[in-house]
Chain length 211, copies 2
DNA sequence: GTCTATAAAGTGATAGAC
DNA sequence: GTCTATCACTTTATAGAC
């Protein structure tokens, strides 16, 4: 019917696949379900992709890129590199910065739970395939680097230093977000999650001290 | 061929299904794969279970029961209820108790990574089904209760009290184990995981103080 | 009770008309 | 390039012989 470039068709199929995975899960993301969501014929799928696995690989690559930017703090909120702290400093300030960042993630999770559920499923899916496992690894390397950046920025902004290497605190932070995501997806307990965010902020802030 | 009671056959199929899920994933745990693993015919499956979903429900129920006991500390290590601390006390003792318990979990994970991968997959699977979702919720309620018990015991043993409600610290601990499990399954980075355990012990111990 | 054989539906992928 | 029609295979589940 409609003429599209192969690249446009691939990207449309990837986006449709993401919606299907989010709504119904990886197992139900069949080629037929995906082309129906994209409004294409089955043959168009195989014109754009050699196989379902090729699409899944591209899908995983796509969500990993998108996720990294989605969790990034608004650049307007961050001070320029190497600048001196502008607001209040000390342990309480560090704790507040952490609490604020965590709250933003929780809000993101509540607003689009299917998306985070899909991310977890896609990670598991990648872990089952030798070809895709490196993608999962790259993704988590990216998360760790991103968390390290955010933690360094928070320390600078609050005039603090970390008592442990920032990479280790970053791994802790990533583990915490994964864990709180699963916990919330399982019981959807908002008050418990808010309390958890407070507890996390306390615990992580205890790993810093005034510079 | 061999005569078995229906209950025996069901339990044999559940155990076979767990092996298949661990080795090849939930998606590959077809009825055929499961009966092959159990050394039965396909018809025997449907004699014992009405459907594949009925088996999966029973499998999830089974692993949840088993997991709770697997992570429990050796009763020989724990002092009797309400007893006064016997060893060293104070923040360092609390941190050491936490680090020890975390180390035991990490060892469990390293020794049987497929099992923990299967647990995560089964949780996701349960979250996709309205009938099985309550099972996931029960499982995590159980985890939280178990973690609260372990944390209370650690505080008693080290003569400490928690600065936050123990249920909140418990939720933190469960989130951390889930998160570190995913991180390790993704990159299998043992040194980073050991460092993470140290960092976790520091951060969580900071939530306690001497009684 | 346990088997073999098969039904019924779904899957990824392709052929061939246009 | 895009479609319909179909192939070859796998899936869950059942029928019916023994």
């Amino acid at each position: 019917m409609t003429r599209m470039t192969a690249a446009d068709r691939r990207s449309a199929l990837v986006l449709a696949a993401l919606r299907v995975v989010a709504d119904r899960g990886v197992a139900q993301a069949t080629t037929r379900a995906i082309v129906a969501e994209a409004g294409m014929s089955l043959a168009s799928f195989h014109y754009a992709f050699a196989s379902r696995d090729e699409l899944m690989t591209e899908l995983i690559r796509h969500v990993m890129r998108a996720e990294s930017t989605a969790v990034l703090p608004d650049p307007a909120d961050a001070p320029a590199d190497g600048q001196a702290p502008t607001g209040p400093t000390g342990p309480a300030a560090l704790r507040l910065l952490l609490r604020h960042g965590l709250g933003r993630y929780a809000e993101h999770l509540r607003q689009d739970p299917l998306r985070e559920k899909a991310m977890l499923e896609l990670t598991q899916y990648a872990l089952r395939s030798v070809e895709m496992q490196p993608l999962a690894r790259e993704q988590y390397d990216g998360y760790h680097a991103l968390a390290a950046l955010a933690l360094t920025s928070a320390a600078e902004q609050s005039g603090s230093v970390w008592l442990r290497p920032v990479d280790e605190v970053a791994r802790l932070l990533v583990a915490l977000t994964d864990g709180l995501t699963i916990a919330w997806l399982v019981d959807r307990d908002d008050p418990a999650t808010e309390a958890l965010l407070d507890t996390i902020a306390d615990a992580v802030a205890a790993l810093g001290r005034p510079a």
